[in-house]
Amino acid sequence: NAGVTQTPKFRILKIGQSMTLQCAQDMNHNYMYWYRQDPGMGLKLIYYSVGAGITDKGEVPNGYNVSRSTTEDFPLRLELAAPSQTSVYFCASRRGGTGNEQFFGPGTRLTVL
């Protein structure tokens, strides 16, 4: 199993540009998540999904959009990039139920200039 994969690993955007961060998992997990990690701030939940066709906002959803058309994929869209979106983005997935581990992708380092 590849686990949770993310592309790209690095990206530099100009203010106002758009991009999609890709995330895929091959563990047939229902739950998928997008976090951003800023220095000293821990991980903040952007969006999450409990199954194909279902998405919900986390703590910091503004400036982002998601879709979940399949169980495997959970892309994160930035429509108008802003410097405040400079961060490391992590995708994660989890099987539902008590005590189940959440698996993380390797992260995407995004810089907006």
Partner: protein, 107 residues
């Protein structure tokens, strides 16, 4: 509100010294708690979960409902323990993370 607090941003110890990384939580109900670790240039990975009552890499954590704490402990720190440690709480379908503690173990 459901919250996880890690009061220390940085904890520095010498090899062989005991380590305690603090985690306090706020949750109405029976909490489900985890410790995740992120080694340099690696992805986050699960270290341990409270329901398993396990010891991983010499680390243990006990849930104390009276003090609403889930501190991570290791009696003798190793240099390879240097990493970022996150305490996390399941809230409905989501993991809520603390701000993390960086552990530095000096030789």
């Amino acid at each position: 509100a459901q919250r996880v607090t890690q009061p220390e941003k940085l904890l520095s110890v010498f090899k062989g010294a005991p380590v305690e990384l603090k985690c306090n939580y706020s949750y109405s109900g029976s909490p489900e708690l985890f410790w995740y670790v992120q080694y340099s240039r690696q992805r986050l990975q699960l270290l341990l979960r409270h329901i398993s009552r396990e010891s991983i890499k010499g680390f243990t954590a006990d849930l104390n409902k009276g003090e609403t704490s889930f501190h991570l402990k290791k009696p003798f720190a190793q240099e390879e323990d240097s990493a970022m440690y996150y305490c996390a709480l399941i809230n409905t379908d989501k993991l809520i993370f603390g701000t993390g503690t960086r552990l530095q173990v000096f030789p």
